[in-house]
Symmetry: C2
Subunit: 659 residues, 2 copies
């Protein structure tokens, strides 16, 4: 501890140089007092808390100081943003939207047919879900770039959850479909409710790392499911875990694989992946991967039609119902056991759908620098799912892949969704019979090439680099999905995320501070090895609000620092610790348990003849220290504005013994 | 904002005076660089986290650098602390323990009989639970002041929970008792497990405020239950909520009240309360309230015996089984549905019992300044309940009231528990028949006077003064217990506590900083109204680790501060904001979501031509900023040690436009 001894000389100098830095060098060091914030009345305080919790984004800002008629218009515009941006809509913008809309339509049609299968529904329900929901969203949503429709992960999740309630989706097709609409309805209700009650922050509880892992796992699971169509297997497991699927695949290797299907699948997948590669290499050719799926559908359908390969065992779509969405209002269960199941499934699907849509919305909003109100988005997404559930749609949300294509194709507003919706309408009305000979293999290939992008190695590597704990959450979610099921993966992701938060509030960090040479700044000695401790003084910083969940730990941790330090001091024969300075800058709040812990700390220190000194308590904390009379207990003069001031105040008493 | 304008002059001066404070006044201002902590390897980091989470109190400290034989002895002493303190036990200490032991024995015998009734068990089970568990605890526990035995709140809780499973404790007495032992067994298992896995911090999740409310509510509920014995009512509701109880009381007012019982009850209660008052007034007379219950039992029993008041409808104890605890090993359910019920009830009872015992242990340990290892205590308490469940005891724990008496009677070690245990043993062996004529009214009076102290107005008032949110939790728990049930009260307490923690991690505080006049210190302008903003610079402090749960909020909140400030600046015609300094001192950690949020913030600011500057990131944060290449993105030279340094670095660029 030679550096500590050395610092004894520096110490004195720095205190003096600190004081001379003020404009009255002849005076005693100027010590600024710790401020007491102005008293707030209870109601105001409560209002401020509620505002920060639920209206952190200040959604009513534009309503302030406006006449009533204006407020009404603003209110309408808040619910239907199209009324706002529609007024400045121009032909130039429409050109962008038209091209983008046509591009995403060509991408969504084959995807929709495949995704419907993931949800164990007939292909037309995928198309239905790309017709009504995007229209509703275009009127109510505020994202300019999101592309609405069924997405792979939600389809898989919905399919898994529904199948766990209704074992055989083929035999009980009507019942299964009714439950799907019920779940969709309640997913919409959940989303609207969350948005309306401004509880949107709840989706933030799924951490980025957990989402990366979950999405990657879901993508692998979805790709594995496609092996059925890809290899032309007829008997396939209903489970989604990798072990069951691989078992199913290899058990049917002898007689269940269809070589014609495999040849077709492999060549189509190669074509799609090559198109993706081109799009990645040259950003200007982004439209190549976007229209490749449609081209491969057309080509392969035509090929099957002329070769009649379906007679050789190549599975085909066979039949897609013609015409637009029939009403499904009377199919939703509004009572009984099935309703409860629908509610449960709906809530889970709603949360995942929201997570995906809000993440997309925020990403593109940040890129184009416009504000997105998460809660308003939820209301829009929820409304679209409620209407959707009444028009034979299942849960729709924003799609990662299609939104990216939408953005790159130059979409300007949600009108691109309207264009896509119209194309899907025309398809449903006129073209569906043409899909009869579309082979299942092409759909499988399209889905594989679409979900493969969800496995985000780079993000996983970055997470590994930044935060090991996050990586555990990420991998937990990933392996949970791949080896067990989508639900378990989700549960693991949420549990690990929560555990981390609990750790944060039970085991906050503390640090020993030392003085940086040539400054009056005190910093963590682990981060700044050149920082020196002040002899006779132990300076501890507490890095969290002191609440019931950690107050006891903090007290004991500080005492342990003290014991460690005293041992060290005894060994090296330095002056005894006489002052314990607790740097409170990061302590943003304290509750009754925290005050108790401080009192116990104070009494323990008293027994050891060590003075407790506080540095820089924040507004809330100083207020509570006074309210609880703790400030009076330790003495008002023991609370300082900065650590440097506190050390300076200790020094005259210390000098006597040190020198 | 005239003060902001005024500060422009000060600003320049202070920067200069700051720089002159260093020892090379002729040089450019000395700027200390932000330190990068030394690289830790992954395993070390993981080990440190695990250690802080589970072994924060460093329980193996004394084992370090010891030979193996010594380690074995230390290990034994760790499990049986009596081996350690027993060696220095002396006659002087025994005198204190003897007096204390006799005093708490006289207090516990009548209390035990009453508490057993709260748990719907025969009176002897209360006495059994004051015989075996204290003995076990004396060998394994490390608190010197705690008095072990059945307590009011746990008895009530156990009674309520058991009764919800077995409707009629009288008709199904044997089954009820078996379930009670099963619950006690699993309560013990829970406690040992928590202690052994060092999960003791879990009990910290019940906040002080919630406990105050819960205890107060339980006390009221218990007192209300005593109205049965106090008024001599025969038909009484089985529910515990105030509405049902009062209904029961007044419905029986016409013919169900027994005036002899009431007279006796009122006079005994007056006597007990008067004794309490004396004890409170004069601390030396603490023994008066301690022996008053026994005296009132003796007097009232004698009185009933000679007047044969039981023939006039005064309820008496009638029969207490003679002899010590019979074995109950074969009565515990180790399988089936009843076991599951036992586990569920046991876990709840274990947590409440631990909360009470640990709180008591800590309080007295702090008073006498010795360390108490919460996890080791849990193992001791659990072991004692496991043994207890096999010897016809129900859940025992540390009692608030008896521990206080124990402390004031001058107990020195856990030997006072052994003394009490011996007295209870003698009572069971020889004296129980004498309790035959003890009136129920005296037991009710004793329980009322005992639990009345659990209603802690002062603590509730202090909580109100310190933290309004805590007060809501306190009142929620209180009214939940009083108006609904013990379980609901507990649930409310835990939920509100959790909600508060979630709020902490989702909505952290942020503050705008200003410069304190005549210093280089930057502080919250709400707390220090004299602090002045630096023109052209916005300084925001984030008061929490940036995690997935709050990263998005923090980003949006900072942008909102910026928008507010820009509006203000535009109105007053001050220079445009060019720099945003984020003071990161309180940001103890950041995860991948947090880094993302910072990146989005950086990009948003870039669009507005505002530079992002970070001040004083901590060791973990700076490490992750580098690992994620965010430091390189914004530029290493944009990260400063202090806000003052950061402002100084902005100033040359600002001066051009300001001047």
């Amino acid at each position: 501890m030679s550096s500590a001894v050395h610092s004894t000389e520096e110490y004195d100098m720095d205190i003096r140089s600190l004081s001379s830095s003020h404009r009255h060098p002849q005076d005693a060091p100027y010590v600024h007092k710790v401020g007491l914030p102005p008293k707030q009345n209870l109601f105001k305080e409560f209002k401020a808390t509620v505002k920060e919790t639920f209206f952190a984004d200040d959604p009513l800002r534009s309503f302030k100081d406006q006449p009533r008629s204006k407020k009404f218009i603003l209110g309408l515009q808040a619910i239907f943003p199209i009324l706002e941006w529609g007024r400045s809509y121009s032909f130039a913008k429409f050109r962008g939207d038209l091209i983008a809309g046509l591009t995403i339509a060509s991408l969504c049609i084959p995807q929709d047919i495949g995704y419907a299968k993931l949800a164990n529904l007939d292909p037309q329900y995928g198309l239905y879900s790309s017709f009504v929901p995007p229209l509703i969203y275009a009127f109510m949503g505020s994202s300019r770039d999101i592309a609405i429709g069924p997405v792979a992960v939600v389809s898989l999740l919905l399919g898994t959850l529904l199948q766990s309630e209704i074992a055989d989706p083929v035999a009980n097709a009507a019942e299964y479909r009714r439950l799907a609409f019920t779940a969709t309805f309640f997913a919409g209700i959940t989303q609207v409710t969350l948005g309306f009650l401004r509880l949107g922050f709840l989706i933030d509880f799924l951490s980025h790392a957990a989402i990366v892992g979950f999405m990657g796992g879901a993508a692998i699971t979805i790709a594995l499911q496609q092996l059925k169509g890809f290899l032309g297997i007829k008997k396939f497991t209903k489970k989604t875990d990798i072990v069951s699927v691989m078992h199913s695949v290899f058990a049917s290797a002898h007689h269940g694989w269809n070589w014609q299907t495999i040849v077709m699948g492999v060549s189509l997948l190669s074509f799609l992946l090559f198109a993706k590669y081109i799009g990645k290499k040259n950003k200007k050719l982004f439209w190549v991967p976007a229209i490749a799926p449609l081209i491969s559908v057309i080509l392969s359908t035509f090929f099957v039609y002329i070769t009649r390969a379906d007679k050789d065992g190549v599975q085909i779509v066979k039949h897609i119902e013609k015409g637009i969405n029939p009403s499904s209002v009377n199919q939703i269960y509004f009572s009984g056991d099935h309703m409860l199941k629908g509610v449960r499934i709906g809530i889970v699907a709603a949360m995942i759908a929201l997570t995906e849509a809000i993440a997309i919305g925020r990403t593109f909003a940040a890129m184009k620098d416009y504000q997105l109100d998460g809660n308003k988005e939820m209301v829009a997404l929820g409304a679209m799912n409620i209407v959707g559930s009444m028009t034979s749609c299942y849960v729709a949300t924003g799609s990662f892949s299609r939104s990216a294509v939408n953005f790159m194709s130059g979409c300007q507003t949600a009108v691109s969704n309207i264009v896509m919706s119209i194309v899907v309408f025309l398809t449903l009305q006129f073209i569906t019979p043409l899909f009869k000979y579309t082979p299942s293999a092409v759909l499988s290939a399209i889905i594989i090439s679409a979900v493969i992008g969800l496995v985000d190695y780079d993000a996983a590597y970055l997470i590994w680099k930044i935060d090991k704990f996050d990586f555990v959450a990420c991998m937990g979610a990933f392996f949970g999905v791949v080896f067990v099921s989508v639900e378990i993966g989700l549960l693991i992701a949420v549990s690990i995320s929560f555990f981390k938060l609990l750790l944060q509030v039970t085991r906050p960090r503390t640090a020993i501070l030392g003085k940086l040479p040539r400054t009056a700044v005190y910093r963590n000695i682990l981060q700044y090895p050149e920082a020196t401790k002040v002899p006779g003084v132990l300076i501890v910083r507490v890095d969290s609000a002191i609440y019931f969940s950690n107050s006891n730990y903090i007290k004991e941790r500080i005492l342990r620092w003290l014991i460690d330090e005293e041992e060290l001091v005894n060994k090296s024969g330095q002056p005894k610790i006489q002052f314990l300075i607790v740097e409170m800058s990061p302590v943003t709040d304290i509750d009754t348990s925290g005050i108790h812990a401080l009192e116990e700390l104070y009494r323990s220190l008293q027994k050891r003849e060590i003075q407790l000194i506080l540095a820089n308590p924040g507004p809330v904390v100083i207020d509570k220290l006074h309210a609880s009379d703790f400030a009076q207990l330790i003495g008002e003069d023991k609370i300082f504005l900065t650590v440097a001031n506190a050390v300076a105040a200790c020094s005259p008493k210390l000098m006597v013994e040190v020198v």
